[in-house]
C-alpha cells in the first residue's frame, strides 16, 4: 500500500547532504562534490534542526555529502540523533573508516553504512573515483563487518566497469556485506558532463540486468541485492504521481524537491521542518514543477540543470 504524503505530519525519511567537500572527484558525482566549499549550516542551526527531527519523530536519516566523515561535527551529530532514537545510515567512500571508527558505528547501532565500491579491479574503481583508493574502501568494509555493522555496497555502472557486476556481488558476499545496491547511471551533476565518456551502452545494460537477475536468484535469502531497473526519467514519472515521504536537504540547509530537479522548496536555516514539509507537499502540485518535469521527461538533457537551483 502506498502512503499518501498529504496524510503525514512530517517526513519519514531525510536524505541530508551534510557537506559538499570530498577528498575524491568522482566522474559521475551527482552533487559535483569536491574541494569547492559551499556554505554549510552553522552549528546552532544544525542543533535546532536536529532537535526538530527528534520532536517530530522522524524515524530515519541518511547522511551523505560530499564525504560526510570529513564534516567537523559528523560524529556528534550522529551521536545526538542515535541516542534520541533516530535510525541512521551514512553514505561514504569509506576512506576514513579505520578499526576505531568501525567500532564507533557499531556502538551507535547504525542502521547501515553504505560504501561506494565500483568493481573488483582497483583500476576501474580508481578511474571513476578520481583520487579514490580501492584498498582503503575494501579495508573499511572488512572493519565494519568485523564489528557487525550492516554494510552495504553501492556499485555505479559505467562503460568501463559494468562487466564486473557479477564478480563484485560474489566478492561482496565473501566479505559478508549486508547488501549490494545498483541501478542505471543517472544523467545529473558531473555524470551529465561526462556522459559520453562514462555512460554504458544499451547492450551493456542488457547484460548487466541479466547478470543481476541471476545473482539475485543465486544469493536469495543470503544477501540483499537491490537494483533499480528504471532510469531517472522513469523515477520522475513515478514521483509526479507518488512523491516520496522524504526531504532532500542540501549542505546550506535548503531543501530540494528531488535530486534530479532544480526546485528548492524551503530553507531550514530560516524555516521549521514542518513548514518546509508543507511546502514540499504543495511543491509537487505546483504547475511550474509539473510542467518542467514533463519537459525533462521529454528532453532528458534538461537534467543537466538539476544543480541550477530554482526557488519555488
Amino acid at each position: 500500500m502506498r502512503i499518501k504524503i498529504d496524510n503525514l505530519k512530517a517526513p519519514l525519511f531525510l536524505a541530508w547532504q551534510i557537506n559538499s567537500e570530498c577528498n575524491l572527484e568522482c566522474l559521475h558525482c551527482c552533487e559535483e562534490a569536491g574541494d569547492i566549499i559551499v556554505e554549510k549550516m552553522k552549528e546552532e542551526e544544525i542543533y535546532n534542526f536536529l532537535q526538530q527531527i527528534i520532536e517530530l519523530r522522524i524515524p530515519y536519516v541518511a547522511i551523505s555529502g560530499g564525504e560526510p566523515l570529513i564534516h567537523p561535527n559528523f560524529k556528534e551529530i550522529c551521536e545526538y540523533l542515535s541516542k534520541n532514537g533516530v535510525n541512521l545510515k551514512v553514505e561514504t567512500n569509506g576512506e576514513y573508516i579505520d578499526e576505531e571508527t568501525a567500532k564507533w558505528f557499531s556502538d551507535l547501532k547504525f542502521r547501515s553504512v553504505q560504501l561506494s565500491l565500483d568493481g573488483v579491479e582497483p583500476s576501474s574503481h580508481e578511474k571513476l573515483r578520481k583520487y579514490g583508493n580501492w584498498h582503503k574502501t575494501v579495508s573499511a568494509c572488512e572493519f565494519l563487518i568485523k564489528y557487525k555493522v550492516n554494510t552495504e555496497i553501492v556499485f555505479v555502472p559505467t562503460r568501463f566497469n559494468i562487466h564486473q557486476i557479477g564478480d563484485l556481488i560474489d566478492f561482496a558476499y565473501k566479505l559478508g556485506v549486508y547488501g549490494v545496491y545498483t541501478g542505471k547511471l543517472m544523467r545529473i551533476g558531473r555524470a551529465a558532463i561526462n556522459w559520453e565518456i562514462i555512460s554504458p551502452t544499451e547492450e551493456q545494460y542488457k547484460e548487466f540486468f541479466k547478470v543481476l537477475e541471476e545473482k539475485m536468484k543465486q544469493y536469495d535469502k543470503k544477501m540483499k541485492i537491490f537494483y533499480y531497473p528504471f532510469d531517472v526519467i522513469e523515477e520522475l514519472k513515478y514521483r509526479l504521481r507518488y512523491p516520496a515521504a522524504s526531504l532532500l536537504i542540501l549542505p546550506d540547509g535548503r531543501v530540494k524537491l528531488i535530486g534530479p530537479l532544480p526546485f528548492i522548496c524551503g530553507d531550514l536555516k530560516k524555516e521549521t521542518i514542518t513548514s518546509v514539509w508543507e511546502k514540499y507537499k504543495k511543491g509537487w502540485k505546483n504547475k511550474r514543477v509539473i510542467e518542467f518535469t514533463k519537459k525533462v521527461i521529454n528532453d532528458p538533457k534538461l537534467l543537466s540543470l538539476s544543480n541550477k537551483w530554482i526557488e519555488l
Binding site: I3, N7, L8, L12, F13, N87
Partner: protein
Amino acid sequence: MKLKDFVKFRKEKFGGVIFDTLREKVFITNETGSEVLELIEKNYSVEKIIDYMEENYDVEKEELKEEIEKFILILKENSIIEDEDKN
C-alpha cells in the same frame, strides 16, 4: 514483546505509520492499532494490553482478546515485533 531493531512507529491523525528502516518498508495502521503499538513500545505484555483496552473501551473481553491476538500475529508475521530476548 518489542519492536524489532530498526523498526520505528509514529502516531498520525489517521492512526499510525510503522517504518521498517532496514527493509525500507512502510505499513500503516488505524487508531486502535496505533494504540496497541504505543503500548508495545511501553513494554506491555499481550495480557496487559488486553486489560488496558478493556478498561478503556466498551467491548467484550473475549472479542477484544481475539482481535488483539490477531493484530499481534500480523505484526509478528510482518517482522514488525518480536519477543524479548529471554537470555
